[in-house]
């Protein structure tokens, strides 16, 4: 047996190693699926923007398969899509993710999950990583997602990306206070 190493904050200087602000580009040339851009801002409990957050993304490919050995579904792997990206916020607290619309993946008890992104949030002032999910407001299956159903109904909309125009979605992260994003214990 070994004992867990505790988390510590990523601090304000992670960019020298984990990446400078800029669009997270998950959809490299040739990735299959509908191309989308997700853009948003990270806010703190006073409504101030958070210019030093790191948003990490994990998602399935367009067919609903993860590029990981433990996903053994009989769905195609897309060699041009890893499903992983990092989106550090800029001086305006803004982040941008260029990706493809994920397919549906299995959920608990033979259910099917709605298309979603897993997000991990790290920043100065965040001692232990925050974990959340992003769903798509205009995707019909979002209403029947088995994980979203576990979130109190009045707070679900904090997890919905809003369609701005074709292929562009808006999604803000609020770390505290009014409209606080739902974070998960998983």
């Amino acid at each position: 047996m070994a004992e867990l190493t505790p988390f510590q904050t990523v601090g304000p200087f992670f960019a020298i190693c984990l990446g400078e602000p800029g669009r997270a580009e998950l959809a490299t040339n040739g990735a299959l699926g509908r191309r989308i851009i997700i853009e948003g801002t990270v806010f703190d409990g006073s409504g101030a923007l958070v210019p030093d957050a790191l948003v990490e993304i994990w998602q399935a490919n367009a067919a609903g398969r993860y590029a990981h050995p433990e996903d053994e579904q009989e769905k195609p792997i897309d060699p041009n899509f890893s499903g992983y990206g990092r989106a550090p916020t800029d001086d305006a607290g803004h982040f941008e993710i260029e990706t493809i619309m994920p397919g549906r993946v299995p959920g608990p008890d033979d259910s099917l999950q709605a298309p979603h992104l897993l997000l991990g949030i790290l920043a100065r002032g965040i001692l232990t990583r925050l974990v959340t999910r992003m769903y798509f407001e205009d995707e019909p299956s979002t209403k029947e997602d088995p994980i979203l159903a576990l979130v109190p109904a009045r707070r679900r909309e904090t997890l919905l990306a809003r369609r701005v125009r074709d292929g562009v979605y808006h999604f803000d992260l609020r770390l505290q206070g009014d409209g606080e994003t739902v974070f998960f214990d998983v």
Binding site: E3, T5, P6, F7, Q8, W58, A60, E180
Partner: protein
């Protein structure tokens, strides 16, 4: 089918989200309770790195410039394990730190200490089949921060790794044994369990030291382990 689910850490392992001693947490912690959800295929999978993207040179932070960086050269070596003590192989370990004067090569670091043109302070390495990693770097300096009056961070090195899934993500800091600033540091002391704080300390290890060249420190990183498989439960 994916493997077994991951064990949830007990409450005293990781720092609380709201820790008044560390002012930065005040407006950056959720006030609503976290929503407990099951682990699905989404969480049981996670980023996988290709070997091709990591070069051997990336794990030596002392050979990037025209000359060696200023400071005390050190070797930092250890293993990445899960809670069952199983090695986590082929995982990317990323590291970043201040230079010997306590200054980061980052535009928002305004500490009045010199930058070292021969030190970027970032490195990365893949673990081998036994979960081992090894870096060569210089010992970072302590530096002041604005958390409270006369606040100084103890010397530390930031570590980041993913392990086998989204749930095994670990971002932490390694500290040096015997540092008098540890007792005064709210970030280090945000870890509730004293034994947990001890696990953030590197161990000086004479056997890792390279005579006439560099001192050696050992630092293991332990990520979440899985629930026993049905088979193990049956026999356990």
């Amino acid at each position: 089918m994916p493997g077994e689910t991951y064990r949830r850490p007990s409450d005293d392992v990781h720092p609380p989200r709201d820790f008044p001693g560390y002012r930065g947490t005040a407006l950056r912690h959720p006030r609503q309770p976290l929503v407990i959800v099951p682990q699905t295929l989404s969480e049981l999978t996670g980023p996988v790195y290709g070997h091709a993207s990591v070069a051997d040179a990336d794990r030596d932070l002392t050979t990037r410039g025209h000359a060696p960086p200023i400071g005390e050269r050190i070797i930092v070596e250890g293993r990445v394990l899960d809670e069952d003590g199983k090695p986590v192989r082929d995982t990317l370990v990323e590291l970043w730190q201040a230079n010997a004067a306590g200054r980061y090569a980052h535009r928002v670091d305004r500490h009045d200490a010199p930058l070292d043109p021969n030190f970027t302070g970032a490195g990365r390495a893949l673990t081998d089949a036994a979960g081992c990693y090894r870096f060569v770097t210089i010992k970072p300096g302590a530096y002041p921060w604005l958390n409270h009056s006369n606040a100084w961070r103890p010397a530390h090195i930031h570590f980041s790794l993913w392990g086998p899934s989204f749930l095994t993500r670990l971002v932490t800091q390694m500290y040096f044994p015997g540092d008098p600033l540890l007792a005064l540091d709210p970030i280090y002391n945000s870890v509730p369990d004293p034994r947990g704080r001890e696990r953030l300390l590197a161990k000086f290890d004479l056997s890792l030291t390279q005579p006439e060249w560099a001192l050696g420190y050992h630092f293991d990183l332990v990520v979440r382990g899985r629930h026993a498989t049905p088979m193990e439960r049956q026999h356990g």
